[in-house]
């Protein structure tokens, strides 16, 4: 299930299940979005991106969905594995740089 922790929302899923991580963005004019994965003690790592002229993009085991009407992004991870445990951030274009969302912690249960 999904719960709000002291600092970060946390999503707990069973190994092998699909995960869906959500993100609301603020700027309706944003044209480009990125999902990052941040493991403990490491910097963020690029996972997948999407431009505003698309509503879906697929990668290896990951899919990003973009709903511009409600300014919402989601990251779907298929067959979640222990190595997927991390904090996931969405980032939206802002001028020539990006603004990162607050992040969601994904916890994969054995």
């Amino acid at each position: 299930g999904e719960s709000v922790g002291l600092h970060l929302p946390t999503l707990s899923v069973q190994e092998g299940d699909n995960s869906i991580i959500n993100c609301a963005y603020s700027n309706s004019a944003s044209d480009y979005f990125i999902w990052y994965k941040q493991e403990s003690g490491k910097g963020p790592q690029f996972i997948i991106d999407i431009r505003s002229n698309m509503d879906k993009r697929q990668g290896q085991r990951v899919t990003v969905l973009l709903n511009k009407t409600v300014k919402h992004l989601s990251l779907q991870i298929a067959a979640t594995q222990p190595g997927d445990s991390a904090v996931y951030f969405c980032a939206e274009e802002y001028g020539q740089n990006f603004v990162f969302g607050p992040g969601t912690r994904l916890s994969v249960l054995p």
Binding site: L6, K42, F98
Partner: protein
């Protein structure tokens, strides 16, 4: 290919002291970024360099923070004097060039604790 290197990995100082962080970007990357990541939040851009010039420092608290990239390669971020609210992870990232389509590669960060 070597990634972005940062040092030190951890630093503990008392408030009002000074501290400096070092970053070595990926070889050949013209653009370098410094981010501040407070616990439980996403990274926030502090400053962006293109070679040895500053592109964006609009969110850098210039009364206490400074950064340089004198030869267009390594960079140093300094805080003087530090405040309690500066406790955070300071991330360095680099990209081949400017522009949103150039992937940013992040270093492991320096965790700063101000007591």
């Amino acid at each position: 290919e070597a990634g972005v290197a940062q040092s030190p990995r951890y630093k503990i100082i008392e408030k009002r002291q000074s501290v400096a962080f070092w970053c070595n970007p990926i070889s050949g990357h013209a653009t370098l970024y410094w981010y501040q990541q407070i616990l439980g939040q996403g990274p926030k851009l502090l400053i962006q360099f293109q070679n040895n010039g500053v592109v964006d420092d609009s969110q850098l608290p210039k009364d206490r923070f400074s950064a340089e990239r004198l030869k267009g390669v390594d960079s140093t971020l300094k805080i003087q004097p530090a405040k309690l609210e500066d406790s955070a992870v300071y991330l360095c990232a680099s990209s081949l060039d400017r522009g949103l389509w150039n992937e940013q590669f992040f270093g492991p960060g320096t965790r700063l604790t101000v007591l």
